[in-house]
Amino acid sequence: MIRERISNAWQMLMGNKGRSILTMLGIIVGIASVITVVAVGEGAKDAVLGQFDQVGASSLLVGVSSGQATENDYLTADDVDAVRNLVTELRFVSVDYQLIGRTDKFGDSTAIFVTGVDQDWMRISNLTVTDGRQFSLPELDRSGASIILEEETAERLYPGRSPIGETLEINRRGKLLEVEIVGVGHSIVSQLSGWTGMDVDRLMIVYMPLSTTIDLGGGEPRFSSIIAMAQSPDRLEATGEQIVQVLENRHGNQGENMYRVTETAQLLEQADLVANVFTNFIAIVAAISLLVGGIGVMNIMLVSVTERTREIGLRKALGATMNDIMWQFLFESSILTFIGGV
């Protein structure tokens, strides 16, 4: 019986194809916009977060956090070696070392944001090269004068052409260093820069071998934080505690709460939150358009009930009950919304 009613409703709809299609259009547009918005939102989120994901889940940052920290509390290369040797369950460990230099190559003195990288750093931060090449091992070990440009920076400074093979001079407090651009790539730094409020439009972001960067910085460097990757995400907390313990032992500042552990996952959560707010907002807009489509169907059905009083009267005369009539309209509108939705 239900099948026959559906086919009866279908027949009535096919008898007025133009109106049926227009009515469905409201639903089609509504549902299409909801799907598109949610898909695009999710896609964009995945693209951003996927970048972190390969490393984010098990990497962490241990940094000096206290305002009362003295020179003595900051970290040295020896600290990094100690952590590497003493903390088990550690896959990679490196330092977070960045400095700002300048270059005159692009007109007025342009600030260059230099991140020092070594092998472990590249693994933790997932430095991926899209043009040119990675740093070679000799370059990393022996202070090679090469840099990798961050993608957006490369696009801005060398629009439409490859910067590979170009050289530029970096000036850091009077010290000059000529470097060659060997690659273009991106890492967690370029992703994070967007969230940390760095002025990407004015800064050049480049990666340089850590030893070269330390030389350029001059003297015995003191680092503010260590970055590390644990063996597995569930050992993250324990690993963080061990690192802090090693550092406190070496610096003799136990109990002063000098070092703080930040898990990349926490940064991710914040980024996620921002992305969600955005997606939700657009989803609400799309939902409203779906609601409008639904009201459209309701309106058309209401009009057609008024318009079709003759037909309703006839069907009643032929033995239809009020229920029969109600089901017919319900089936007609359900078919419209279902097909529109599909």
Partner: protein, 249 residues
């Protein structure tokens, strides 16, 4: 003539019984008294015309006979069943089984082909698809339109549409055929063909009730009921066209 009829059928069963039937229409400001005390009995197998000027209550009476409208006071019995006891569902079922409707404007559904239009009452009666198509085709061939069964109502003439409507009215084999101005929109030739169908059905024992204001149509019936101002003003037996023609030939 009526005596002859009665001699054949010793106890004619009343199919419609009305006692002091009133109908008011109320709107916010106006009350309209459409039927003012109708007393009427129509027996099984009668051929009745109901006449009257517009506003006399013809259509209201037809709606009440057809259980499409409720009465305001009085008593109405259809096929021995008191109409006041009926729920919407049992009204629909009784209407479906007992009465076939024919309307002035045919009222075929333009979205459906002829066979589906004819089969529609059986859909509401819960008849199986195969039997529906079989019986609808039979009914269409009875009105000589089975060639057109897959066509839409808009593709055939008004006279043909009204014959399809008669086929639809009769497909449930009801005991009463209720026609409201069935020839109002037809040329005289088509009207004759439709009335001929009515006579055929009457000969098969169907009670035929025609509501009309055309005296020529009314004269096809054996009994003429005239309405005026919501009351029966005249109720008489008459010699029909049919019989006159038969007498002449």
């Amino acid at each position: 003539m009526s005596n002859a009829w009665e001699s054949e059928h010793i106890l004619p069963e009343p199919v419609i019984t009305m006692r002091d039937l009133h109908k008011f229409y109320r709107s916010a400001s106006v009350e309209y008294h459409a039927l003012r005390g109708i007393d009427l009995t129509i027996n099984e197998g009668e051929f009745v015309s109901i006449m009257g000027p517009s506003g006399s209550g013809k259509t209201t009476l037809m709606n009440i006979i057809g259980l499409l409208d409720n009465l305001s006071s009085g008593y109405y019995e259809l096929q021995g069943i008191d109409s006041s006891d009926l729920s919407d569902t049992s009204r629909a079922a009784l209407r479906n089984r007992t009465i076939g409707f024919v309307f002035q404007s045919f009222n075929l559904l333009p979205q459906m082909n002829l066979i589906d239009n004819v089969a529609l009452p059986m859909l509401y009666a819960g008849v199986s698809l195969r039997e529906r198509r079989e019986r609808a085709r039979e009914a269409l061939s009875h009105v000589e339109l089975d060639r057109w069964s897959e066509h839409r109502p808009t593709e055939i003439s008004g006279g043909q549409q009204q014959r399809v409507a008669v086929a639809r009215a009769m497909v449930m084999r009801p005991s009463i055929l209720l026609a409201d101005e069935p020839t109002g929109n037809l040329d005289s030739k088509s009207a004759e063909a439709v009335l001929k169908l009515f006579h055929e059905l009457h000969d098969l024992g169907v009670t035929v009730i025609i509501i009309t204001h055309d005296i020529n149509v009314a004269h096809h019936a054996e009994r003429l009921i005239e309405l005026f101002d919501g009351k029966v003003s005249n109720d008489s037996l008459q010699a029909t066209h049919h019989e006159k023609k038969a007498g002449l030939s």
